[in-house]
């Protein structure tokens, strides 16, 4: 029982990181119906921005997190402006392939500067408590609480503010909404800024939890976060959060009770089974098709 509780805590930690990255995928998809495959690599860049800020300025956790979020957010907006915006009218796959290209570019550019895996300095004083046999570290608590906080903030922005309303409007219809005076390009940029900065935040948190980072770390985690977004129903913000926690939970539980090499196998098989029974994800709605 204690073991299960302990693993649930780990699952929450991993799940909140997946959920944060999945939010970036789902926000961009919601507004542009485009899969931003560079997002996993923006997560990696976030981890490296945090690493650089921590090394160069010796900053504590929160400023490092903010620097990384701002840096990745700006990078995300720049990528959207340069690489994706000219392709809005092009076939959908062109944008997807461009995103793949941007991702590989980011990976290898980082590789040029950091050819070897780097170990990240500990930014938070890690205190561990033992509550009824379960070991709780302050790092875990902070990661979980901060991600939840960011998710609540995002949910608030999307549902309660003018910017959020504009985002939902643009994702609803891109031809009529500009006529109502909504600055579509600005809204898309804001969406990219928010989505990618969440990925950057996830990068910093991940590098605190698992303190060795390398330029290719974003690939696998990015794909997994993408899967989380799809499990929840891509384009649906609450779905992405749920999907992240489900995938994190499944992975940790498989690793806890089976040989850890089965982790990917069981996680992806579950995903396939889920998609066969709910082809549009947990919260996704099938879009009505017009003939």
């Amino acid at each position: 029982m204690i073991y299960i509780l302990q693993q649930s805590l780990n699952a929450l930690q991993l799940g909140s990181i997946y959920a944060l990255i999945a939010l970036g995928y789902t926000m961009v998809y919601g507004i542009l119906t485009m899969i931003n495959f560079a997002h996993g690599d923006l997560f990696m860049v976030g981890a490296f921005f945090g690493f650089m800020a921590a090394l160069a300025f010796k900053l504590p956790f929160i400023p490092t997190l903010l620097i990384s979020m701002i840096g990745v957010g700006l990078l995300g907006v720049a990528i959207e402006r340069v690489a994706y915006k000219p392709l809005r009218q092009a076939p959908r796959v062109s944008a997807i392939i461009t995103a793949l290209g941007v991702g590989i570019f980011l990976e290898n550019l980082t590789l040029v500067f950091y050819p070897y895996p780097q170990s990240v300095p500990q930014l938070l004083q890690n205190i561990t408590w033992t509550i009824g046999g379960v070991t709780v570290s302050s790092l875990q608590i902070i990661i979980i609480l901060m991600s939840l906080g960011l998710m609540v903030l995002l949910d608030f922005i999307v549902r309660r503010t003018m910017v959020g309303m504009a985002m939902r409007a643009v994702s609803w219809d891109k031809t009529i909404v500009p006529l109502m005076g909504v600055p579509v390009n600005l809204v898309i940029s804001i969406t990219f800024a928010i989505g990618t900065s969440l990925g950057g935040a996830a990068g910093v948190m991940y590098s605190q939890a698992f303190p060795v980072i390398d330029p290719y770390m974003g690939i696998m985690i990015g794909w997994k976060a993408f899967i989380s977004a799809v499990v929840g129903g891509i384009g649906n913000i609450r779905g992405a959060m749920i999907g992240g926690f489900i995938l994190g939970g499944v992975e940790i539980m498989v690793a806890a009770f089976l040989p850890s090499t089965y982790r990917d196998f069981v996680a992806f098989t579950l995903l396939l089974v889920l998609l066969i029974f709910r082809p549009y994800g947990i919260l996704g709605q099938p879009r009505p098709q017009k003939v």
């Binding site: 000219p86 990976e107 090499t261 396939l272």
Partner: protein, 366 residues
């Protein structure tokens, strides 16, 4: 190119590329090229020359071993690209797990060679019969697995099918890693080098030929109609399930063949070789060459493979440069090099007569 500084715009309104295209020399080259492409007899001639070269090059070492190896990789990559193009280009789905099928073919082939078949069979003239059977077995195994992936495609489309194929790729890798009998994460070393240049040439031509004929067959029309509109083609009594099944099986069959050839060329395979990065490579080749185009697949695979090798002196920077080239290609030519067009060689005779009026089978599709 359109956003260059305007200090010399007074000299000429034309952009640099437009002026370049108007130069008489280039125009004449383009015309000659066009005329060359129109010659129907050129393809068989080229095939015969190619076959002869594939025997002569290793025999007399016309080029060094390294270049020979690259040429064989180009052939294998053409097989992989063209089979992926069937799903992604012609059927309009987005399959991102092509390396998974390749892994199945490679492992079946490698296991047959290293563990199942007696060594005597792989020596002497007998290998001429055994090796194609090994490759075919790899293809058949991959085709069976392709059948499994085709089933979810009946219910899901687009991004969700992409996830299914992605998950499939990772499952294949994970399963191989967990079976100790086939080497687990360490892979299979010491596979006999049975892949030779004539074989690569043969299988590449076979793959191109079969897939071309499939595209212009009745089923191929069904595949194209699925890309344009699934519901409409269903209403026009296209058996969508059968068509999807066939396309997936054919595509994975050739991916398996490519895998078996690859295993017997590299002589060492491990699950890490067939991860999602490998699949991404094939995706890039397909979209670089252009979707829905056999000529595009051949060009895309060739250019990508050769360019990566040519840029080798740049070391790490070539992996920075390549994706940038891809991004710029997509920005200026979103449909890839050939993008839904076709060399006339690859179009059957009967199609060309119809094609005079309208490009059949290459209608605009997004």
């Amino acid at each position: 190119m359109t956003t260059q500084p305007s200090n010399d715009s007074s000299k000429s309104k034309l952009s640099w590329s437009a002026r370049f295209a108007q130069s008489p020399l280039l125009l004449r080259i383009a015309q000659a090229w066009e005329a060359l492409l129109a010659r129907r007899w050129l393809l068989p001639v080229l095939l015969v020359i190619g076959l002869a070269l594939s025997f002569l090059i290793p025999q007399f070492r016309l080029v060094n071993e390294y270049v020979q190896l690259i040429m064989m990789y180009v052939g294998i990559n053409i097989i992989m690209t063209i089979s992926l193009n069937l799903i992604n280009g012609y059927m309009g789905e987005f399959s991102v797990g092509h390396a998974g099928f390749m892994a199945v073919g490679a492992y079946i082939g490698a296991l047959l060679t290293t563990q199942v078949l007696p060594y005597a069979w792989l020596e002497g003239p007998l290998v001429m019969i055994v090796f194609p059977l090994i490759v075919l077995a790899g293809g058949a195994g991959a085709a069976l697995v392709g059948l499994l992936v085709a089933v979810p495609s009946f219910r899901t489309r687009g991004d969700y099918l992409a996830i299914v194929t992605l998950a499939f790729n990772m499952i294949v890798k994970s399963v191989i890693e967990n079976i100790e009998a086939i080497g687990g994460p360490r892979g299979i070393p010491g596979i006999d080098k049975l892949t030779t240049m004539p074989w690569v040439f043969f299988w590449t031509v076979l793959a191109v030929w079969v897939i071309r004929n499939f595209i212009y067959s009745n089923f191929g029309r069904g595949v194209l109609s699925l890309r344009e509109d699934e519901i409409a083609s269903d209403l026009m009594s296209v058996n969508t399930r059968q068509v999807k099944l066939l396309a997936f099986v054919l595509s994975s069959f050739f991916a398996g063949i490519g895998g078996a050839l690859f295993a017997h060329l590299l002589q060492f395979i491990s699950p890490r070789v067939f991860d999602i990065i490998k699949s991404t490579d094939f995706l890039i080749m397909v979209y670089l060459g252009g979707i829905g185009s056999i000529g595009g697949s051949v060009l895309g695979a060739t250019i990508y493979t050769v360019l990566l090798e040519v840029l080798r002196p740049l070391q790490v920077w070539r992996f920075v440069l390549m994706p940038l080239l891809l991004v710029f290609l997509m920005l200026y030519r979103p449909r890839g090099i050939m993008g839904l067009r076709e060399f006339r060689w690859f179009v059957p005779n009967s199609e060309l007569l119809v094609g005079k009026k309208k490009e059949v089978g290459n209608a605009a599709a997004d």
